[in-house]
């Protein structure tokens, strides 16, 4: 069954003078005519589709438009042309540890994050103890979040996000988090979700991981789609050649 269909989408980005110049400065520059606003395409004419259980690897150098594409798929950004059809629930693991509130306790942050991810209160009540024990934060439940180490923060973030079985899972360089023992545990959890039939989109700079995990591959370069296909090995080899030539 087709779960995700990305049809000829392009995503524009705006850069230039616009960031925090203020209204006065904006008006002044508009009058003088030296207000500069550039548009460029972070993604241009991207087309692919995924069936249930597919694991797509997205490869490309920095600035290829990988993260932007993930943001469009998860609905944070709107494509300016083309359309994206999603069937089912999306879970996106994008920069997990951001978006927590340092002043709230671990418990409060857990509920807030659960709510942000679209869980219900009933589900959170049921899952809360699982989340805390999985992230090994039993002793910190009522401590302010800012007292946690960054490792603990990402452990909590991972534990909350991995509690559901999404239809589409989006991973931006995250397969596992934390230190030694937790790294193994989180990777096992992630593999469990992936292997249970979830459609997964995985961005990685590790071709090794892509080769072993993915059955489809999308290669982007400077926003353009170089290729999309299920011949993972061949495309990876071509990409490696391309990287060597570039140097």
């Amino acid at each position: 069954m087709e779960i995700l269909n990305v049809e000829n989408i392009s995503i524009k980005y705006i850069t230039g003078d616009l960031k925090s110049i203020g209204l006065k400065e904006y008006v002044l520059r508009k009058i003088k005519g030296n207000y500069i606003e550039n548009e460029f395409y972070a993604n241009k004419n991207i087309t692919f589709s995924l069936n249930q259980g597919d694991m797509l690897g997205i490869i490309g150098t920095n600035g290829a438009g990988k993260s932007t594409l993930l943001k469009a798929i998860s609905g944070i950004m709107l494509p300016c042309t083309g359309k994206i059809i999603r069937r089912g629930k999306i879970a996106a693991f994008l920069e997990l540890a951001s978006g927590f509130d340092g002043d709230l306790t671990v418990r409060e942050n857990t509920y807030l994050r659960g709510a942000l991810l679209g869980y219900t209160r009933f589900f959170m009540d049921q899952m809360y103890s699982n989340i805390i024990s999985f992230s090994e934060l039993e002793a910190f439940e009522d401590r302010p979040f800012k007292h946690l180490s960054s490792g603990m923060k990402s452990r909590l973030a991972f534990s909350i996000a991995s509690m559901i079985q999404p239809d589409i899972l989006i991973l931006d360089e995250v397969l596992s988090v934390g230190d030694g023992a937790f790294r193994i545990k989180s990777e096992a959890k992630m593999k469990e979700i992936i292997n249970s039939g979830t459609t997964t989109i995985f961005v990685s700079h590790s071709l090794q991981q892509i080769r072993t995990l993915c059955n489809k591959i999308l290669w982007l370069d400077k926003g353009k789609q170089i290729t999309f296909g299920s011949n993972v090995k061949e495309i990876c080899d071509n990409y490696q050649q391309f990287l060597i030539k570039k140097k």
Binding site: Y13, I14, T15, L18, K19, S20, I21, G22, L23, K24, E25, Y26, K71, S74, G75, I76, M77, L78, I90, A92, L94, E95, S98, G99, D101, D103, L104, E108, Y111, L112, A115, L116, L117, G118, Y119, T120, R121, M124
Partner: protein
């Protein structure tokens, strides 16, 4: 903004809780302070202005207090609303949720604050010897209109604030103008009538006037005032929704 409330109910509740906790920093004093500070300003204003104005304004303290709480609620709600989007930008640039929830949540916490002060206000009304009558029920009308205006203004400001950070200073200046144009501590009855009409251009003044008419004169304001309030709240709300809808997917470029 028509997506089912139910779907986001849990998120909305958690956001309100968060904003409320952060606002009062979980202290009793934090909550007390938000009530005390307008009361202290009221005392000061009363001390200064009652000599000048109280002889031609009946129930001057209530007259002043009405203007003060309405204006304060408007300023607090819109100033905090202005920040609502940009202070949560780190969340909505990573997780796909309707951004207006952040604004509504801020509005709820300033509304709760307003309700607390309103209770004290009615205590003062009672102490001042004003008897409560059935027409006090009508007070719901200007308050609901004010909430809608605050949401509308909040939507406009929070969007603008993402694009232009100096809106904060310009808006602060603007609220000063609104304050002096709201007849909070003075009475405009002795001004020429054409100048009195000029005040009706200010939605906050209209709202204050409505409440004073009910509480102090114990009469129902005329239909014109009702319509004006409705007009202002509908215009501001629609403008806010329009701006939000137009720009809400562009915010991400500016943060």
């Amino acid at each position: 903004m028509h997506i089912s409330i139910k779907e986001y109910q849990f998120l909305f509740e958690e956001l309100v809780k968060r904003d409320f906790k952060k606002k009062y920093k979980r202290t009793i004093l934090g909550m007390l302070w938000s009530i005390l500070s307008p009361l202290m300003i009221l005392v000061i204003l009363t001390l200064i202005f009652s000599n000048f104005f109280s002889h031609n304004t009946e129930h001057y303290i209530i007259y002043l207090f009405t203007g003060q709480i309405i204006f304060n609620y408007y300023v607090e709600s819109t100033m905090e609303g202005m920040n609502a989007l940009s202070s949560n930008a780190h969340i909505f640039s990573k997780i796909n949720i309707p951004k207006y929830l952040f604004l509504l949540s801020k509005n709820i916490s300033s509304f709760i604050n307003f309700i607390l002060i309103l209770i004290i206000y009615f205590l003062f009304v009672f102490i001042d010897g004003i008897s409560f009558t059935w027409i006090f029920i009508l007070l719901f009308y200007p308050i609901i209109c004010l909430i809608l205006m605050n949401i509308g203004i909040g939507l406009i400001l929070s969007a603008l604030f993402i694009f232009f950070k100096d809106i904060e200073y310009l808006y602060r200046l603007f609220t000063q103008i609104v304050m002096y144009g709201s007849a909070i501590f003075y009475n405009i009855d002795f001004l020429p009538s054409n100048i009195q009409y000029f005040f009706l251009l200010n939605p906050i003044y209209v709202c204050i006037k409505y409440i004073r008419t009910i509480i102090i004169q114990n009469t129902i304001p005329d239909i014109m005032i009702h319509l004006l309030l409705l007009l202002y709240s509908v215009i501001l709300l629609i403008l806010g929704i329009f701006i939000y809808k137009k720009y809400n997917y562009k915010f991400i470029y500016y943060i």
